[in-house]
Subunit: 752 residues, 2 copies
Amino acid sequence: MTGLNLSYVVVVALIAVAALAMAALFRREVLAAPEGTESMKTIARAVQEGAAAYLNRQFRTLGIFVVLVFGLLFLLPGDPGVRFGRSLFFLVGAAFSAGIGYLGMWLATRANVRVAAAARDEGRDPAMKVAFRTGGVVGMATVGLGLLGAAIVVLTYQEDAPTVLEGFGFGAALLAMFMRVGGGIFTKAADVGADLVGKVEQGIPEDDPRNAATIADNVGDNVGDCAGMAADLFESYAVTLVAALILGQVAFGQEGLVFPLIVPALGALTAVLGIYLTRPRPGENGLTTINRAFYISAVVSAVLCAIAAFAYLPDSFAQLDGGLGDHDGDPRILATAAVFLGIVLAGIILWLTGYFTGTDKKPTEDVAKTSLTGPATVILSGIALGLESAVYTAMVIGGAVYGAFLLGDGSVELSLFLIALAGTGLLTTVGVIVAMDTFGPVSDNAQGIAEMSGDVDGEGAQILTELDAVGNTTKAITKGIAIATAVLAATALFGSYTRAISDELAAVGADIAGETSFLIDIVSPNVLVGVIIGASVVFMFSGLAINAVGRAAGAVVFEVRRQFRDDPGIMAGTSTPAYGRVVDIVTKDSLRELATPGLMAALAPIAVGFGLGVGPLAGYLAGAIATGVLMAVFLANSGGAWDNSKKLVEDGNHGGKGSEAHAATVIGDTVGDPFKDTAGPSINPLIKVMNLVSVLIAPAIVSMTVGADANDGLRYTIALVAAAIIIGAVWFSKRRSAIIGEDEPARQGAAV
Amino acid sequence: MTGLNLSYVVVVALIAVAALAMAALFRREVLAAPEGTESMKTIARAVQEGAAAYLNRQFRTLGIFVVLVFGLLFLLPGDPGVRFGRSLFFLVGAAFSAGIGYLGMWLATRANVRVAAAARDEGRDPAMKVAFRTGGVVGMATVGLGLLGAAIVVLTYQEDAPTVLEGFGFGAALLAMFMRVGGGIFTKAADVGADLVGKVEQGIPEDDPRNAATIADNVGDNVGDCAGMAADLFESYAVTLVAALILGQVAFGQEGLVFPLIVPALGALTAVLGIYLTRPRPGENGLTTINRAFYISAVVSAVLCAIAAFAYLPDSFAQLDGGLGDHDGDPRILATAAVFLGIVLAGIILWLTGYFTGTDKKPTEDVAKTSLTGPATVILSGIALGLESAVYTAMVIGGAVYGAFLLGDGSVELSLFLIALAGTGLLTTVGVIVAMDTFGPVSDNAQGIAEMSGDVDGEGAQILTELDAVGNTTKAITKGIAIATAVLAATALFGSYTRAISDELAAVGADIAGETSFLIDIVSPNVLVGVIIGASVVFMFSGLAINAVGRAAGAVVFEVRRQFRDDPGIMAGTSTPAYGRVVDIVTKDSLRELATPGLMAALAPIAVGFGLGVGPLAGYLAGAIATGVLMAVFLANSGGAWDNSKKLVEDGNHGGKGSEAHAATVIGDTVGDPFKDTAGPSINPLIKVMNLVSVLIAPAIVSMTVGADANDGLRYTIALVAAAIIIGAVWFSKRRSAIIGEDEPARQGAAV
């Protein structure tokens, strides 16, 4: 193993440790800020306790599942030592993902009150700094843990690293998916429920302390938008890195296990730069500041990566240790071009999302205008906007994939590695992206605490409103970037999928002539059926997630109504609502609702792969990727545009607050909530979980289908059990489908 | 050409002529019914004139386009005689499609008043009979013209028939797509516009004569739900038949050009039976009557087809003249099984659609319940229902494809033919299906005329309301069947696609090693990009169609408001609104809005195929089929469930008419209008147009990519021109995007 430059990997590991040290430094800065009034502290504490209680409960539930998967992973074929490493790093990936999520929540619930206090006592710039530094902690921790994990695997397992990395990526993606779905259901059930009773029925403002769901709503911002999002971005980071390292070995030999680590390590350095650059200039819009930091750090990353490629890589494939020795391109140029593609892709998505969801752009203005003809036209125009804008984003991502494909110049293996490398280019911006994203829920929560405590008014309140609006746009942008990483990583993982199949075929020495389940021609009807099933899973998953929010929100509505009815003192402001009861209800409902979509994501590839074969499973993945990217962006952008068109009307357009037009946009916003914060963002980890499950099971499918150990009975049994569990879970969730809107007495019985 | 049993084809042609004669007979029956009062006749005449004016204008516009395509088709490579036949039968297919559409509209606008008169003077059963006989005319004409066209092609061109049939199917699909999109925009723009001003703003009932948009609304039912739907079902019939005949020759040799004609010919016979069977028993629900007719004719078809297969086909492939001589299955059993699959598929879709959209079923009841928590939850629950139900339908269709694939037992060619044969099995039910579908708009219109004239009340009015509700469900079922034919035909057409490629490769004697654009492996990144683009086109098409309705409806809203404002006598009932102006506005807007989605459908495969190659184009088609079936059913079922949940509330549930809950469901219904009647049903012809365009251009792409005539410059130029036209059309339609909800003065300027 002379070819592997372990010294470089050690340097990467050290950079990772440095990133974690930066995270600790930023954390101290945040916690050092003052916490505001007693009343603000009390509210913050309630939110902290609610969020911690939810996450602890969620981790306990998921713990059982993780241990189960740990065992199942170990049952798959392969060398026992490597298998053990894979299972072990599955646990590490899951733990890192959960840890980042917990950190994001923990810090956000402490930063929110500090942002509110800074806005109250010190002004906009200090408030913005606290919010962005909080994001910096999560961003640096994401980058640090992702790099550290990957570097340790490469150092420990060297040429066996790819297989072990599959476990690391899978652990990260699986946990992130559950946290995204569960947190997404929690946050939107509480939000929608609070709005339906508070704003719509009782006409009291958002975050009014008389609304029993307000604490739950604020808890939701932290467990969904902070914890779920942080885990999701960590997972995007880890899986992209994993895909690049797996394919790097095929295309670039041993350098391929090092260079993909160098690129994001440089990104870690520039992320620190970006976070320090985020100093608002006087009178500047917050979004401008953040965008500037993004673009500067992107350009610096690009330059550093080009330097690294030319310094580190040889000028011909023949000089690589392993890889595609006979290819006649220049590895330095190809690698640089691929990384550039990824960085440019991030920039275009940033701009495109801003265009479609920004309050000062035509698309959202058009949606706001349709409020003059009522809620139906608001819904229709928002849906049409989402459908169309999804196509542009999908085309841009597809263009990047195709660009990397063309760079590969006829070699599919090289193309796939370059696609993964473009993914690592995207990753160089993740530090700043996470910081941007965390900004959103922290400002949202700060506004909530300020409103509930009543201690922040005048200029302080206005500052928080402005920061909240900036946060909405940064959240939408992050979703676009996250789904782009999903497509790049998933496309690249096709390379490991086919390699897993051909390796296993070679190992069992089987002849597959006449085995149609091995066809991966897209024109074969069974592969096409796979494509249809893959696309179906995305539709089903989205439908289930939206329904889950509706049901859980219904439970919130009835509980809040009950409290108003049973204790008239609440409305009068003389007694305090039982906030904890609503938090409890949403916690239980979210964890229960989580199961069906989660099981479906993990088990559907197993049912298709073992039941129909590896060809249809490839079709399945292609269908899921294509429909997934469109559905994810559609849901995110429709939701973002509705949210901001409501803000436009609230700013005094088309009749302003309290008008019919405003009511119409509030309805649009409520529809958009589960679109943009539950179903949409969950599709990103969904795609990766399904891809990694497929890569992991491919050898087992092959060995059960052909060769000496072929066992059709066992194969079909596995497929049927997986399918039966999915059908059972869906059937079970249907039994609960009528809760929302049900007559109250019946509901009371069901909820208690 | 000894093998071709022309005598059987002549019998089929005679059955086709007999079906047309039946259509003429039914038509006389319908026209013989009394027309009601003078006032009813006057209204009916206005609707007749408006509908005829719209269709004539549409045909003039499309005529230019059809002539253009006629010429372009002739430019494609191939034998001049066959090419001319293909272009000629393209015209015939287009003319038949247009003719069926015109007939559907013509008769429906005459039947509506007769149904109203029968309900008024004679009771439910005679009214239902007139409505169903009208459907019978269209159904028999669809079946007759489809069979006749195909039989004439087979008789004339014999072994060259497949190529000529491509033209016939393409003409039918292209015209149908434009009629579906244009008619769909017309009908929903008028409907939504009328509802927004009438029901929502002015609080006057549907079809109130004071609303200037009522005549346009009734015209819309005829040009969209009748003409568009009839053309669409004719296209489904023709394309499925074409796919079966093309693939039949490959798999079954010369018998393969005859047997696929025999199956639907038997269907024509059983359709007559079904139509005569539709005699409501006393006190029976209209839907029960229709379902009984469907199931009886389906069972009779199945039995007759089995008899025909065993009588006509030999018991081994070796005895076939041509085809897969060495296959060891029994053609009689395989053919019977495939036809059964198709018939069973039709039955399951009938049941599934009824379950998800029926007023007496849990899913729609649940959507109605959510009206208690306002419009946002109605929208969310309807969308979730649509997303989930689409998956079940897609799974059932995918299951049928997979079943036919398994029957093929390892031979992809045979599988594809059996899939097409399953499609012809579905076709045996088309006669009854068209009759069921036409029932919907005719009853809807009858109710409109009754309401406007004020001459039908009491029991008569109640009968019409009941018939209208039955019509809603039959319409939803038809859409499910139509999309199933799209998937089966499109999947089967993959066979002709790959054959076109391999034939042309053989002709140019080219070596494609290293040409990645010829890869059709789904794991190749460029093919995956094709899948993403294919899925994107479905999203874009849906978004454009929904937006188009929104814009055109906005124009209606402002015109009706203007009339109310300028002439107070309208509201007082002393003066008549200018109905014609609204019809004119909707006519112009629909034809203008039609262009963008239409051009995209026709040109996107050209851009992808010439630009990226035949492999990515195959991916493109797979992506479009998979996403298309899901999107089509999602849109149809969400819309159907919203419509019927509104009916549930109107029947007195959850507060009944005039309650908050009712207002919430009216919003849901309005959102559902363009979903279920514009975007959703247009996806069916969209898929087929794109497939046929791809089959037609495949040889040209091959010859421009490899071989002696390779010309990359020309190839990329064609791709760029196609892409530029699409982008230009989208950009142009965006310029109009702000019309709905715009300030009235600005809009007035734009509309006039």
